[in-house]
């Protein structure tokens, strides 16, 4: 409860128990959060980005095929301007090569993207791999 008078507000001295309960819960949450952040600050090494690709789906579309993929960053640092190269290969021959650039792939997180290939994919391999990144 707060009483307002002449532009100043005064809290009650004898508050309802729910104020204390809320305060206690909040204190626990804040302490827990700070504890987690602090513990990770100590224990986690700032490993560089560790990028890996997982193809999610391949679907035919009007102009060819759409290959949807996830890019995972297992490292503890975020990667920026991540360039992912996707190639359609027939044995050793590169039929088609495309690029997708991700603004950010956050640490320990994933992002999703897709390649649009115009070539026919039957009997051919699709190779998708990350090609480079910058520090954010």
């Amino acid at each position: 409860m707060t009483r307002s008078d002449k532009g100043r507000h005064r809290e009650r001295h004898d508050p309802h128990w729910i104020e204390w309960l809320t305060g206690l819960l909040s204190a626990l949450l804040v302490a827990g959060m700070l504890g987690w952040v602090g513990w990770e600050a100590f224990m986690k090494d700032a490993t560089p980005p560790d990028l890996s690709i997982a193809v999610v789906a391949t679907e035919p579309i009007a102009s060819g095929h759409r290959v949807t993929f996830d890019i995972h960053n297992a490292g503890a640092t975020t990667a920026a301007s991540v360039t992912v190269v996707g190639r359609v290969l027939d044995g050793d021959r590169v039929i088609e090569e495309n690029q997708v650039i991700f603004d950010y792939v956050a640490a320990e997180s994933k992002s999703t993207g897709a390649f649009l290939f115009t070539s026919d994919l039957t009997g051919r391999q699709v190779d998708i791999h990350p090609a480079g990144y910058t520090d954010p």
């Binding site: 507000h9 305060g23 600050a41």
Partner: protein, 280 residues
């Protein structure tokens, strides 16, 4: 009605006062909504953000406006019906001002799909409507509506939430929030959290602003810290997390990464919460 009698004594007509209130609402909507109306990310979000989340934001804005109107209102509100009326007017002002400004800035064109037009206006109408509601209370408090008033605990938390939401809506859509979270280390986040809490407590209790809060002499300082500042910080963090989720900044992020972004946004949100307690 008591309100009409008071207005007649003032010598100003009821419709005159109402139109003045509308004018202040428009001024508030413009003043407080313009930073977001001119933020590029808000335009893009208008057409790409998930419609369910936009809908949720629009729906949650309604009880927020009603609760704010009950507290500060366009005119001396005497009950929930007037609060609903004032909230509706504020929302309407928010929508109209957003529509006019976005159209004037060339962001609404005839060749755009209806979904994009509606999405852009709807998204901007939320902060503009809060601005319209606040405009009445800040730009023209000529009545002593704060004298002798009691605010419940839930009311205090709500005020903090409204202040936090307002600043969160300003800052969450921008890319800089996420870039800061990506570049920070956990130590930086720890320090930012401590600073947020300290500033929240200091601004409201220790620095003697007009509108500042006090404790009666027999109350130790940590009473207010535990009862108000810490819950206020949690409210600011929850509002920040909500704002980030609505604008799709938390998808696919790990818990640690999301926590960093929430702490980053929690810094302005907590100051907004403190400012709301001072001003409202």
């Amino acid at each position: 009605m008591a309100g009409k009698a008071a207005a007649a004594e003032d010598g100003t007509s009821d419709p005159g006062r109402f139109v003045t209130g509308l004018g202040r609402g428009i001024a508030g909507a413009l003043f407080l909504g313009l930073p977001m109306l001119m933020t590029m990310e808000m335009w893009y979000l208008g057409f790409y953000m998930a419609r369910e989340r936009l809908f949720l934001l629009l729906m949650l804005n309604i009880p927020l406006l009603i609760l704010l109107a009950h507290r500060i209102g366009f005119e001396k509100t005497h009950g929930w019906r007037e609060a609903v009326r004032d909230a509706t007017i504020a929302y309407g002002i928010g929508i109209i001002t957003s529509l006019v400004v976005l159209a004037a800035l060339g962001l609404l064109r005839g060749d755009m799909p209806a979904g994009e037009l509606v999405g852009k206006v709807a998204l901007q109408s939320v902060p503009a409507s809060i601005g319209a509601m606040l405009g009445r209370s800040q730009l023209g408090q000529d009545e002593d509506t704060t004298e002798g008033r009691e605010t419940t605990y839930a009311g205090e938390l709500l005020l903090m939430g409204a202040g936090a939401l307002f600043l969160s809506l300003n800052i969450a859509p921008t890319d800089e929030t996420m870039v800061l979270a990506y570049k920070m280390t956990n130590w930086h986040a720890f320090v930012v959290a401590i600073i947020s809490i300290a500033l929240m407590h200091g601004f409201v209790y220790a620095v003697s602003f007009v509108g500042g809060h006090e404790l009666s002499p027999q109350t130790p300082w940590w009473h207010a810290f535990v009862r108000f500042t810490l819950p206020g910080y949690i409210v600011a963090l929850v509002i920040s997390a909500f704002a980030l989720w609505v604008f799709e900044r938390l998808d696919d992020s790990s818990l640690s990464q999301s926590l960093l972004s929430v702490i980053v946004l929690g810094f302005p949100a907590s100051l907004g919460a403190a400012a709301a307690r001072l001003i409202l």
